[in-house]
Amino acid sequence: MSAAKGYFGKPMKRVEDPRLIKGIATYVDDITLPGMLHAAVLRSPYAHARINNIKADAAKASPGVVGVFTGADVNDKCGLVPCASPMPDSKIPKHTVLASDRVYFVGHPVAVVVAVDRYAARDALDFVEVDYDPLPVVSDPEKALEKDSPLTHPEFRTNVAFTWSVANGGLDAAFKRAHRVIKQRMIHQRLTPMAIEPRGCVASWHAGEGTLTLYTSTQIPHLVRTLLPGMISVPENRIRIVAPEVGGAFGSKLNLYAEEALCSHLAQRLGAPVKWIESRRENAAATIHGRDQIGEYEVAVKKDGTLLAIKSKTLADIGAYCQLNTPAIPTLTGLMLTGCYKCKAMRMDVVGVYTHKMATDAYRGAGRPEATYVIERLMDIIADELKLDPVKVRLKNFPKPTEFPFDTLTGLTYDSGNYQGALKKAQQISNWNKLTKQRDAARKSGKLFGIGLSTYVEICALGPSKMMSAGGWEWGCVRIEMSGKVTVITGATPHGQGQETSFAQIAADKLGVPIEDIVVMRGDTAVAHYGRDTYGSRATVIGGAAILMCIDKIIAKARKLAAHLLDTKEKSVEFRDGKFSAKGKPKKALTWKQLAPEAYVAKNIPQNWEPGLEASSFFEPPNCTYPFGTHIVAVEVDRDTGEVKIVKYVTVDDCGHQVNPLLVEGQLQGGIAHSIGQALFERTVYDENGQLLTGEFMDYAMPRAKDIPEYLMDSTVTPSPSNPMGIKGVGEAGTIGATPAIANAVMDALSPLGIRHLDLPLTPEKIWRAIAPVKVK
């Protein structure tokens, strides 16, 4: 086979797909180990209650049951669920793996049954008797701050979990100078990630070696390996974490959860592998939620639409305790609050509030969707109040392409950008003038038709280690095997994003080998020794760069070997299209297939040349990347029912160079679907007693195929200077950019009725109530 090149940039179909479409891939529930036991978790039906007593005798006697364990049995042997990103003033409750004397959210694990099969384990749950004393509940974050509110954690004497601020510039001066100050309160509703595969794990203890293998549906096997020793006192070098095929995560599996530690502990304790698979109801109640902020926003503007300053007071309802990154999420909102606009001053004060609900944490976009939504809604509200064109207001405030790298007030440096270019292209594709005429005509005929726009920028490829709690680098390893085949190992743990393909593309080009010769391995800490895993749209950018570094090292090393074998000087060895040759003698070239055996047989190698062709690297990014783009959406609102129909959807996204445009498109479409849900119908609902009312797919509405519009998708390419490929992350861009465009379109449709703002989700009932306030009996 001839050496191929030019994979980078091609819309290639994925190498991971055959096993998935044939149904022969291995997800965690597909793993069966000899002697494996099954765990089922009993959870609190109360949002807040004292546990007086737990009787497990009947459950223990239930057929097939091996053991029943409560907090009293395990909490002293299994440490606290960690939070990796506390704020300086954080009050972090002791979050034990099973409740001790108190439960503080519906779904709080109370006891675990281990039995010979899942049916027996489930049956026994019904026989565990828990004597609860219900305690007062607070599920509304604003009420939680009132003086006489019930407390989520009475020991803190307050529901304030932490505070955090970011500020820069002369705020008062800017507000004084303003022609207009515009205020708006916005609520970012709580959302449930709802990966279609729930969480689950299989823990296996190898008593002889004293080692633990944990198969778990996680985005972060490496971080779990770093953190788990703090819970189960098995040292890091005796722990192997395997993330097999993972059925979706979206941030919800970016955590170390109680059940992972619990199963690890039980496997050790019982001397048998223990499997636990979450049910959907458990997933909705006890896997992290997202968003849930309430903000009061104020902007100072000049009458020509120039943005002077923005300030915000934000309550983040973080639920009952801190998961791994709970406190960090609203800080990302603060850092991105000024969006893609110049601004003279800003301030955001966040108060994290405990309530009797599931913890929030990173859900696709993680803090940035809130920021983009705020600033993009505000742009439209500014335009509306000042009777200006929303496009012009945006253009007025964009930094020029020549102003990049662009320093923001919040201390970030946007790496590269051309916001005008993306906006202009999107307008062209949407046929902007025609579209606005269509709106005018529709309005004349009595229809509610609106056009919405979002020009977003987001922070991703997180990030330089100085901003991360446990390193922001990524690790990779490349090995030219003796056969000349290539093994690429990434620490980035992709799980559906397609890097088995895109990393193979990158490596094949760089090495000059056919892509079929490459295999990309991931997700197993015994194979990928180090890694910081997949979140924050980081894997391709940082993980990809680590692989390039490895290949550079290998080429440098191979060059020495080639010089030796070609009997020439190292300097005069050329490497092109996968072949090493002496300058001017291209015919006598050595391929990897020829070099590799020499490297490993090692009988004819240069002096002091270390055998083998393998290199590993840690890539430390100098900066995050800042993809951007414009989404234009047109909607029609049904006057009678309040239903919203998206009639046009145009996106121009810029994630720098695209390794594989097909995958980029997939990521964007997937991300936009999450936005459609967030904008129009998704919401997690707790009642005032802290009962979860959206605990099943029957009640939590997610987009289906019929909710998806036809897209017109295009891109611009503004390479990032922060990595060798000039690429930017794209996993969350859709979710970050799309929501405000949809919301703005709906609000534009309603604007002739004098409606300025409605909070998400824009459900039919909410819209109906706004447009036709009827006398409710």
């Binding site: 899942r118 049916y119 489930r122 049956d123 019904d126 049910s279 959907r280 109801r281 009678d640 029912t641 119908f681 609902v685 009312l693 959206t694 797919f697 029957m698 009640d699 939590y700 509405a701 997610m702 039919p764 009932e765 109906w768 109530r769 036709a772 009827v774 409710v776 009996k777």
Partner: protein, 281 residues
């Protein structure tokens, strides 16, 4: 996800099935398509001791002409109704409604009889069954009895079918094309928040309107029907009549739709269904 244990019986005849029901009493449940029963068993909201699968009972799944009516076996699936050429020609309301139930997989298994007996207040069939003024035939140890659709639904998830009885047949009249079913669905589950079925009888200048999803049990919008009796169905008349579609009912109220919104939607959908039906006339 895992039902509580039960005994499973699969009788081959109706008599046998009824005898088993009598024998096991309130602890037994009939299993038809299982698409209401199995989900509630998986959540352990239902824990029958005995499940009596009637899928092997002969002759419960059919669509056939019977005098001037169309007879539908209780075990006929939603899909078989959706795909029935006979119904498309003779009772198009049913073929219009069927594809709006749940999803394709549910329609392949769920049965019209199971849906009616389950009497979920948000189920779709009841709207059509009421609007068509169908007859429902119920078999018990004392033989068979027929009840009118208007007498069939007793309350929330409750019908006149006793625990030892089996619904075996639904008989509907043939109609003209001037029928319509308009549904506002609960987004997550697909069930009806307000489903309105309308049959317009142009010759006799009457309409009948069946409503589901709105109240604890499906109902005939009698006020609408009486206002429109003998009227020319122009826009004004329809508008006016639709405005009283929720009269006298107590709408359900939940996170998916408040009572006020349900009351509003039933008016909108009554109007829309009437307009569509008239346009087809």
């Amino acid at each position: 996800m895992i039902p509580a244990a039960f005994d499973y019986l699969r009788p081959a005849t109706l008599d046998e099935a009824i005898a088993l029901l009598e024998l096991h009493g309130a602890d037994a449940k009939v299993l038809a398509g299982g698409h209401s029963l199995v989900p509630v068993m998986k959540l352990r909201l239902a824990q029958p001791k005995t499940v009596i699968d009637i899928s092997s009972v002969a002759d419960l799944s059919y669509v056939r002409e019977q005098g001037d009516k169309i007879a539908i076996g209780a075990m006929t699936t939603h899909y078989d109704i959706e795909a029935s050429p006979l119904l498309r020609d003779t009772c198009p309301l049913l073929t219009e409604l069927a594809p709006q139930i749940g999803d394709a997989q549910v329609r392949n298994r769920g049965t019209i009889g199971g849906s009616l007996v389950h009497a979920d207040p948000a189920a779709d069939w009841p709207a059509a069954i009421l609007a068509l003024d169908a007859d429902l035939e119920i078999a018990g140890s004392n033989g068979r009895r027929a009840v009118k659709a208007t007498e069939f639904f007793v309350g929330m998830m409750e019908t006149v079918v006793q625990s030892s009885e089996i619904l075996c047949e639904i008989r509907v009249p043939t109609t003209a094309r001037s029928v319509a079913y308009v549904k506002f669905a609960q987004r997550a589950s697909g069930f009806a928040i307000a489903g309105v079925a309308v049959v317009v009888d142009g010759a006799n200048k009457t309409v009948s309107v069946g409503v589901t999803g709105v109240a604890a049990r499906p109902y005939r919008a009698l006020a609408v029907e009486s206002v429109l009796r003998g009227k020319v169905l122009n826009r004004d008349a329809i508008d006016q009549a639709a405005g009283i579609a929720a009269e006298g009912v107590e709408p359900l109220d939940d996170i998916h739709a408040s009572a006020a919104f349900r009351a509003h939607l039933v008016q909108v959908n009554t109007r829309r269904a009437l307009e569509v039906a008239v346009s087809r006339g």
